[in-house]
Symmetry: C2
Subunit: 144 residues, 2 copies
């Protein structure tokens, strides 16, 4: 259903296309991200990849955000979190209990933006929309 834009060879190719070097460390970070499909922190990756320096993990994550391979988002309490990006342009719903991240596309969001063009002075250069939820399974387990 969901197109998998983040298969490892694609990501590596994308980095190459961006004129970046393909190093063992970058491969490891990409592979570590592939193994996850819910939100993760930079420290999660750094902790998992003992052989890769922390600075390199942070640098690579930043690169991957820029390349649209992952998204960085911020929970209501300010905690940053990363999540693999599978949809072309999208927004996030984040469960505030378990941290599960889902992506959604909604054309109405973009319609809102177009309507805001009339209301906002200046040129819109970007936007962010996050919806915070209690996901189905958290609701189910708490209503016991």
């Amino acid at each position: 259903m969901i197109s998998t834009r983040t298969s490892q060879p694609d990501v590596i190719a994308a980095l190459e296309d961006a004129g970046l070097r393909i190093t063992g460390q970058r491969r490891q970070v990409v592979a570590a991200i592939e193994r996850r499909d819910v939100g993760f922190s930079a420290e999660d990756i750094a902790g998992e990849l003992e052989g890769v320096g922390r600075a390199t993990v942070y640098r690579t994550l930043k690169l991957l955000v820029k390349a649209d391979v992952i998204c960085k988002l911020v929970l209501p309490d300010g905690t940053p979190m990363y999540s693999p990006s599978r949809l072309e342009h999208h927004h996030h719903s984040v469960c505030t209990s378990c941290g599960a991240v889902e992506e959604f596309r909604d054309t109405t969001v973009e319609r809102v933006l177009r309507s805001l063009t009339r209301e906002i002075e200046g040129e819109i250069v970007g936007h962010r929309m996050e919806v915070f939820i209690r996901c189905r399974s958290c609701l189910d387990s708490s209503s016991s």
Copy 2:
């Protein structure tokens, strides 16, 4: 045009109503915020109020966020920033050049959320929408 919910006595009253003590420090922080109408950082306030401890500034800002007197938002680069809150429920447009923050209400945003209820599994407990812009005056001064 815009209802000023953050006049100093009101804010103090609101804090009192919340069962909090009205201290000189809290008055100072509130007054410092009154003097601003664009985005500011916690350190801006702490730097301005030499007589008030940093910890107290941060504590008070947190209190004021909870009391809806100010909003905390996050720029695309992750920098947190505070801005006085004048509209009841609103979203923000932030100029990525000069940091000017405007609030806007848009019922279409809330309409989007209602439509998302159908799309998102789970219970929506909150949302955040930020629009990043290049404001009129930044556009004007750069096109010279």
